[in-house]
């Protein structure tokens, strides 16, 4: 098993022996990962392997029961102010977009910067328009999410997450709910983001994306990291039988 070059001092996310149970069922078993700044980590694995649960533990949408998660030097525990501070630094994109249907695109994006970061409306809107330009849909600013296509909605969701100027972006199967012809436009935005130096954790089934963009690939199975490595290593010479089986089914 190859260990990617991990430097403890610089790691922006440190997970040590993270365990989580849903009732009797253990979803995460001693998961230990360190993520460096600007690193793009792609997490793959069969469904139910705990990969979504894992990244949701990082911003505490799910609560881990054992182990330690440290984000940007702050421990994710029961401390309310820590949780709030960590969430400010992490942006998240969901499979179902989760845009707020009662707010316009612009309001969706400016909500958190104004309410959480206390920016002026002017600053928040300038930032929002800049981001909408970046994801390629500035003309949709004053529409409601219900009036956009799936791909456009997901791009708004990415812009919304970026508006908080996070240090880390979490992507939870961002393309799974999209029609095939819209997947590319979202992946393009994500690639551009990766190239700009954003720290990203991506749960996805898009192997092409993983191969092209990832610095490191983690393979989850039954709540464990079974194997990890660079894309080249992972897709060419994976060792573990579970990994091989999975790759043979998916490729």
């Amino acid at each position: 098993m190859v260990n990617a070059n991990i430097q403890n001092e610089e790691a922006i996310i440190v997970c040590k022996n993270v365990c989580k149970w849903f009732g009797e069922f253990q979803v995460l078993r001693d998961v230990s990962v360190e993520v460096q700044p600007q690193e793009v980590v792609v997490i793959i694995g069969p469904s139910g392997s705990g990969k979504s649960t894992f990244i949701r533990c990082i911003n505490r949408l799910e609560e881990h029961q054992e182990g330690q998660i440290v984000v940007d030097g702050m421990e994710m525990g029961h401390d309310v102010s820590n949780i709030a501070a960590i969430r400010r630094e992490i942006g998240m994109v969901f499979q179902q977009f989760n845009l707020f249907p009662h707010l316009t695109v612009l309001q969706n994006i400016t909500l958190a910067p104004m309410r959480v970061r206390h920016w002026s409306r002017e600053k928040a809107e300038t930032k929002a328009m800049e981001l909408l330009n970046r994801v390629g849909i500035p003309e949709q600013a004053n529409k409601y999410p219900g009036q956009l296509s799936g791909g456009q909605q997901q791009r708004v969701a990415i812009a919304r997450a970026l508006a908080m100027e996070p240090k880390i972006m979490l992507f939870d199967e961002p393309t799974s709910a999209l029609d095939p012809e819209m997947i590319k436009e979202v992946l393009d935005v994500m690639k551009e983001l990766a190239q700009s130096g954003m720290t990203m954790l991506v749960v996805t089934h898009e192997m092409g994306f993983a191969r092209e963009v990832a610095d490191r690939v983690l393979f989850f199975d039954q709540g464990r990291i079974v194997e990890q490595g660079t894309p080249d290593y992972f897709f060419e010479s994976a060792q573990h039988p579970r990994t091989k089986l999975f790759l043979s089914q998916i490729l």
Partner: protein
């Protein structure tokens, strides 16, 4: 070419035109309706005419000749039927308007409870909803009136709250309050379970317990009378106590580390508490407070304190109004600042503060205006002039005098009663209370379900997205959940409001003099049943239409824009 040729119909083409047929259908229907209605009207009028009961509105001018329970001052049995009808309308509106507000508040509360993570709260509220939704309202009203209200004690033995009497509040309670507040403020950021936190909390607790034990013994056990404020450091019992305390404190160092904070804190705390009592540093005196009941409940009704507006109320309201204007201006101004700089300002609190400050200043200013040196009062059928204070001391002031000359804008008066009625206080009839409670509790069960469904209709992902963005719980509720839930909640909520207003006519079963009860009496006495029925129907129709219009208006504001 198909084998069967399409045969041109023998019916003329305009008779086969869908548009023409629709128009014809409507005309036929309209003629039918007009015919039936006019036929019925003719028959009804003929039958009524025969009995000298031609429907008309002239009878509304006739003397009613019956009393109405708890009627307003503008109604007596000499008033007209029309006035009686107005009393009924006012009574109905009185119960419906209060009922709408209360059932909404209670319904929202129970609806949130239905979604609680606490099993007990969730189950109790579920039982509440199911029990009330699935039993007839009439039955519930009977229970509220005949079982709950009619089992209240008779007038002379009314329940009172707080019970009349004298309370002694020890001065040291204030000291406790300040101490606990200071400790909470100092330790609020300390780590839970840490040594110093355990030590200080257990220490304060032990000290307070020790002081209380000391005072209890001093006040109740004659043999301990000498202890309080004795301060003699040479007595053998003091020395024994000092030694035991010292041993406890020293001994605390030897307990395991996780218990050390607790033991050390409590042994030091109890020693301090004991010494404070021994040296008399904590006073044993108490405030004596006379308590008069503010609330009475008996089978004749409920009585509350009353708030009366005096002649100076208008002046004071001018101040308050000024405060409100300023508060609004402030609100807008701070809102702009927040928009442009992003700086969060608690503008709601500032607005409240502005109103409160103006109210207080206005109260002082208005209250300190010079009163007339002497006022005219009636003494032994003679008008004499004397100062306000003297007249009040001589018990010569009527309530009108009091309202005219009292310097404060508002007078607050506790209920006062004679042997069989209240002479001061706001009264609520048991019939009103039973109807209000019945309607509110029944409707709240339905509203609770609507609120629960509305909140559940907001996808969980919305909550997660809001959390992931770092919004606080209250922001999430206010900005994300509620606007979306309301859109689902409002249309059925409007229906429940309609139900409540119509259900209020069940008042007749529990003797509350509402619109329907009074009209029943009017119809019986005047014989004008048809007119009465139509009047009641139209009134309820208007009330319903107003409620429906209101809920539609609100509903339009919450509709979502979609593709």
């Amino acid at each position: 070419m198909s084998a069967t040729q399409h045969q041109p119909s023998s019916i003329p083409s305009f008779l086969r035109d869908v548009r023409f047929l629709q128009v014809i259908g409507q005309i036929v229907f309209a003629i039918l309706v007009v015919f039936v209605v006019s036929r019925i009207m003719t028959d009804v009028f003929a039958a009524l005419q025969k009995n000298n009961l031609t429907p008309n509105l002239a009878f509304l001018q006739n003397r009613a000749g019956f009393d109405i329970s708890n009627s307003p001052s503008w109604y007596t049995s000499n008033s007209s039927y029309g006035t009686a009808f107005q009393v009924g309308l006012v009574n109905t509106l009185r119960v419906v308007s209060v009922g709408l507000v209360l059932s909404t508040l209670l319904g929202i509360l129970i609806g949130v409870f239905l979604l609680s993570r606490n099993w007990l709260v969730r189950t109790i509220s579920r039982v509440y909803v199911e029990l009330l939704r699935n039993t007839p309202l009439l039955l519930q009203l009977f229970v509220w009136y005949f079982i709950v209200m009619l089992s209240l004690p008779i007038f002379r033995e009314a329940y009172t709250f707080p019970p009349e009497g004298v309370a002694h509040i020890p001065i040291r309670i204030a000291f406790y309050g300040i101490l606990i507040l200071v400790i909470w403020w100092r330790t609020r950021r300390w780590e839970i379970g840490s040594f110093r936190r355990n030590a200080i909390i257990s220490g304060v607790a032990a000290m307070l317990v020790m002081i209380e034990i000391g005072f209890w013994l001093y006040n109740n056990q004659p043999s301990w009378q000498s202890v309080y404020a004795n301060g003699d450091m040479t007595s053998s019992s003091f020395l024994l106590y000092a030694v035991i305390s010292a041993v406890l404190i020293v001994g605390a160092w030897f307990v395991p580390i996780q218990w050390r904070g607790l033991t050390l804190g409590s042994s030091i705390g109890q020693a301090i508490g004991g010494l404070l009592v021994y040296f008399g540093i904590i006073p044993n005196s108490a405030f004596r407070i006379e308590i008069y009941p503010a609330f009475y409940a008996s089978i004749r009704g409920f009585a509350f304190p009353e708030l009366l507006t005096t002649a100076r109320f208008a002046e004071w309201m001018a101040f308050v109004g000024l405060g409100i204007v300023l508060a609004i201006a402030q609100w807008v101004y701070f809102g702009r600042i927040t928009e442009t700089t992003g700086k969060p300002i608690p503008r709601g609190w500032y607005a409240l503060l502005a109103v409160v400050i103006f109210a207080i200043v206005g109260w002082v200013v208005v209250g300190s205006e010079p009163a007339p040196v002497s006022i005219p009062v009636l003494q032994e059928d003679q008008t004499v002039y004397m100062p306000l204070e003297e007249a009040r001391a001589g018990n010569l002031l009527t309530i009108q005098d009091e309202l005219q000359y009292n310097p404060s804008p508002l007078i607050f008066r506790l209920p006062e009663r004679t042997n069989f009625k209240f002479i001061v206080g706001t009264e609520i009839q048991p019939e009103y209370m039973a109807l209000l409670l019945g309607l509110v509790v029944y409707t709240s069960a339905f509203i609770a379900e609507i609120v629960r469904a509305g909140i559940q209709a907001v996808p969980y992902g919305q909550l997660e997205a809001a959390r992931a963005m770092g919004l606080t719980n209250s922001q999430t509720l206010r900005l994300i959940i509620l606007p979306q839930a309301l859109r689902v909640i409002i249309p059925p909520l409007g229906n429940q409001y309609l139900n409540l207003s119509k259900n209020s006519s069940l008042a007749i079963a529990i003797a509350y003099a509402d619109l329907f009860l009074i009209t029943t009496t009017i119809m019986n006495q005047s014989g004008q049943s048809v007119t009465g029925m139509v009047m009641v129907m139209l009134t309820y129709l208007i009330i319903s239409l107003i409620i429906a219009a209101g809920s539609n208006w609100i509903n339009r504001r919450f509709q979502l824009v979609t593709r």
